[in-house]
Symmetry: C2
Subunit: 95 residues, 2 copies
């Protein structure tokens, strides 16, 4: 399963706050089950999101374990909810 | 650049119309510059899109050439606009 979130920060690009957020986001790669985490720039003029994060899980159970992991829960509470202005989650599996 | 479109069809899953659309969508892989095209299922309960298509381009110019290619233009006119109820385009590049 490929878990993707497109989002826009409340902070200016390149600001200390934005860089601290991105560093915290990248640190989620250390959580069990997270594979190939990448933080990317969103460039389509057809939506308003400016950044993205994508990661792979072997299956939906691995994603659920990540989602419930204390380090992820703390990240959402302390960083995501404070720093992200808008977002959309997209999850892909084989058709 | 990774070009992704999440979408929902006007047709029932598994219908002849849906299968014909997906076959036409997969045939876009034959257009110059399209790499690693995959059609996938969207499973997040947090959005209303039910399918996705993703592909890689070496750069934005390659994407623009694909977008303007007659086979792509014909697909959008004859298939996409008729068969897709809702969609969102997302384009990722390295940060």
């Amino acid at each position: 399963m490929r878990h993707t979130v497109v989002f826009t920060l409340r902070h200016e690009e390149g600001s200390a706050e934005a860089e601290a957020f991105l560093a915290a986001l990248r640190s989620l790669a250390a959580i069990d089950g997270v594979q190939e985490l990448e933080v990317v720039r969103e460039v389509s003029p057809k939506n308003d999101y400016r950044l993205g994060v994508a990661m792979e899980f072997t299956d939906h159970a691995a994603y659920d374990a990540y989602s419930a992991h204390p380090d992820h829960v703390a990240f959402v509470r302390e960083r995501w909810d404070a720093d992200v202005a808008d977002f959309l989650e997209i999850d892909f599996v084989a058709l």
